[in-house]
Amino acid sequence: MQRRLSAGILSAITGVVLVLLIFLGSRGFKDFDSALIGYAVATVVAFCALVYRYTIWITRPPTWRYFKGGWANFLSWKNFRRYLTLVPKAWWTDIFGQTFIWRRSKQRWLMHICIFYGVLISLLITLPLTFGWFHFTLIQPDNYQMWFFGLPVLKFPIEAGVGFSLFHGLDFTAILLIIGLGIALWRRTRDAGLLVTQRFGFDLMPLLLLFAIAVTGLALTASSLWWEGRFYWFISLTHQVVVVGWLLSLPFGKFFHIVERPASIGVTLYQTVNQDVEHYGAQPQTGHCARCGDPLPSPQFVQDLVTTLGELDMRYDLGEEKGLLQEYCPTCKRVMRGQAYYQLMGKKFL
C-alpha cells in the first residue's frame, strides 16, 4: 500500500512537472501545435504510468537491494576511478552496442539494434515536437529557423542536407524499424521454438503496433510528396490512433523493458565491484562454495541475496556447520540433495 501510495504521488508529480515543462517550453502554448494534442496527452499519461510502474518495480525487495547497492557502489569515491572505464563499457555492452544480444544470436542482434535505434531516435524527434519544445519558423525566402524551448538554436536552408535529414528523420527511423520488425516477424513466423511459446498480447502486439506506426508514418510522407495530399487526413488520424495506442501500452507490455534495461548497468557495477580486489583492499574476498570451493559471485552478493530472501520470508539455514544453502554452488546443491536421497535409498530399487 505504502509503495502504491508513493508511486501514485511520484507519478502525479511527474505529470505536473511535465505539463509545466510543456507550458514553459512552448512559451505558454504559443508554439504548441494543437494538431498534435492527442500525442501530447498520450505521452503525458504514458509517462505518469511509467513512473508509477517503475516505482512499484524498483521498490520490490530484490530490485530495491540492487538499486541501493548499485548507487552506493557508484557514489563511493573509492570506486570512482574504476567507473571511468567500467560505466562506459557497460553502457556499450548493455545499451548501445547490445553485445549480449549478439551472444544470444546474431540475427536477433541485428533485429534488435534496428528496432532499438528506430524507436529511440523517433522518440527523440517526436517528443520535443509534440510538446512544442521544437518549433520551426520560415525565414524568407528559403531558410528555416529552429527553436528549442523558445530559444533560437539553428538556422538552415530548406533544401540543404541538414534540413532534409531533419524533416525526413522520421522516415529514416521508420525504414530502420521496418527492417528490424521484418526480421522479428519473420523469426516469429518461422522459428519453431518461438511459434509455440510466444504470446500474442505480449510478444506480437507491440511489434504489430510499431509496424503500423512505421508504415502509416511513411504513408504520411508519401501522401505529401507524391499523392498530393490525398488520404492525408485519414492516414494522419490512423497514425495518431496507433501511436497513442502504443504509448499507452508502453508501461504495461513488453516495451517496459526499455526503462528496465539500464538496471543491468547497475547490476554490472554491483557484480564487478563486489569481486574487485581493489574494493576490498589486500584481501580478495571472492566467495567460494562451502562444499567444493568453486567461486561464487561475492560474499556481499550472497549476503544481499539472503537478506532479500529473508524479506520474502524464506530462510534456508542448514544448521551450524553447514551454513546457509545460498553459500553453495548449484551443482553442490544438486549433489547434496542426491546424497540425502541415496542415504534414504541405498541400492534399493523402488
Binding site: T99, L325, R334, L350
Partner: protein, 207 residues
Amino acid sequence: MAIKTLFVDPSRCIGCRSCEAACRECDSHKGESMVMVDFIDRGKSVATQPTVCMHCNDPVAPCAQVCPVMAILITPEGVVQMAEPSRCIGCRNCVYACPFGVPKFDAEARLMKKCNLCYDRTVQGLKPWCAQACPTGALWYGDYEEFVAQRNGHPVNRTLFGTQQVNTRVYHVLPPEEPMLDIVALLREAEAKEAGTAWQDQEAWVL
C-alpha cells in the same frame, strides 16, 4: 482434470543422459539442456540423479521472487517459466536463490535459462522431451493417480532444507512412509555412517 507433472525417481536412473540430450532438442533452447544429470559421488558409486526444475509452489518460485526485473513468469497452472529474454539482466539472483540448483546462467548473454516443463510440448498434449525419452521412468510424466496406480514408491513433493520447507509441483519418489525429503537430517546420517567406515579399512569384498 488432474494436474500432470513430473515424477523424479533417481533410484531408477542409469545416468544415460537421454534427458539431457532430449532437452537440447527443444526448439526454444536449442543445443542447451535444462535437465542436469549428476553423479552423486563417482568415487563411490555409479549412482546418478536427474534434476529438473521442481516448479516450487510454496513458497512460490523463489527464483521468480528474487528476480529484480520480474523476468521469471509463472503460468496460471503454476509452471515457472524461464527468464523472459527481454527483461533478464543477468544478475544471478535466481541461480543462487534456487534451493535445487536448477537455473543455468550465461553471463555474456545476460540470460538465465531453466526448464519450463516443456511448455511448447505440453500445450500440444505431448510429454516433456526428457520424460518422453527417459528409458527408465526415472523421469515420468503424468498425474498423481496414474503414477500411484502404475508404480511403486511414494511420491512426495515436500523438501526440507534445514529451516525452510519447499513444496513443489514436481514430485520426488521416496520409499513408503517418508513424509518428506529432509536434506540436512539425511546428510548428517550419511556423514555419521561414512565417518565409521572408510573403504580403505574394509576387507576386500570379492575373493
